[in-house]
Symmetry: C2
Subunit: 204 residues, 2 copies
């Protein structure tokens, strides 16, 4: 098997990232792939496209469709879903934590915990008080984790990761990179892992 990881690029406010984030670790394990969690911010990328809000808010027909589509997807996949009363929620602190601790053993469970708070239990994920119990599930001291995530080093790391996303041609979330190949959307997760497996079976 080749060492190339499967990179999962996500933003905590992103709706379609929710079912993808809930599924990606299992799908990567099935494919025998090493998964790399790559949080980034959509805000700066959207601003470059002239949007100061989610396109789902700017274009109401698209937004209405997305909420119904997401509800159907989650129902079909058995993923709990409650339309958040605030959208998009500010995922900056959660993204800084995920970026700083991307290699921690608990990263996958943390990411799923934050998405569940946003899209299943309708909680304000920008509030440290919401994130703290999620972090402490893993035996970490929440205050220490949050302090490190708010260091200037951690802030710079997330900024760089967002710049890297743009550099890689990423324009939305979730996105999966397999080598130079980009896949966008929850509905391309399986395609991305099939692409990985084809590469792993027939290395260049």
């Amino acid at each position: 098997m080749r060492a190339m990881p499967v990179e999962f690029w996500f933003e905590f406010a992103s709706t379609y990232s929710y079912p993808a984030a809930m599924r990606v670790e299992g799908l990567a394990a099935q494919a025998g792939a090493k998964l790399q969690w790559c949080p980034f911010l959509l805000g700066p990328i959207f601003r470059e496209q002239g949007w100061d809000n989610s396109p789902f808010n700017i274009y109401p027909a698209k937004g209405r469709y997305m909420w119904r589509d997401l509800e159907r997807i989650c129902a079909r996949m058995g993923i709990p879903f409650h339309k958040p009363t605030v959208f998009p929620r500010n995922g900056l602190l959660a993204a800084r934590i995920a970026c700083q601790f991307a290699e921690a053993e608990w990263i996958g469970a943390f990411v799923r915990g934050v998405y569940t708070a946003n899209f299943a239990t309708d909680q304000d994920i920008s509030d440290p008080a919401i994130l703290e119990p999620i972090i402490e599930r893993f035996g970490e001291r929440a205050t220490t984790v949050i302090e490190r995530a708010e260091s200037s080093e951690a802030k710079a790391r997330l900024r760089e990761q967002t710049e890297l996303a743009t550099h890689f041609g990423i324009f939305g979330a979730p996105s999966v990179r397999v080598g130079d190949e980009l896949f966008w959307g929850n509905d391309r997760l399986e395609d991305a892992l099939a692409w990985y497996k084809r590469g792993a079976d027939h290395p260049a």
Copy 2:
């Protein structure tokens, strides 16, 4: 089985409508559904969203991704693909024909012929000389068909159909309507027909 048709809403310039249009008749037949071909124009819908061009041209990262994604999809599905040298192509005349003759026996084959011209053999589908041989394959006189498609009645019909698309909350192509349920994208075709089958198996 209930009489509710599966409506396939498409625009001849739309890239993801291409693989969907090539597949939808077979998938509908497998599901036992009556298929209704609903051509419409994306131009007026995009203009309402403030776009004077395809969003794939306005947002280059999204456009680059789409062409690569479409190439992968067509390769996987065994659908011939050649990136058109002009995009988007003007599908107005073809859409008027498809709208006026939506109930003709040859409608499905005509639609596939036009998409193939645009996305596989890179031809200018706004040119009647390109459309004529496609029409004449079905034993129709092309000049008669085109004349009828350019009547004020046919023009009004396509305008009304585009207004109906907006009314139904359609904002992109391809879209499939099954009753009041909307599905957007080539990657939702199978979901739309599964939705139809669930309704047909358990009528309300």
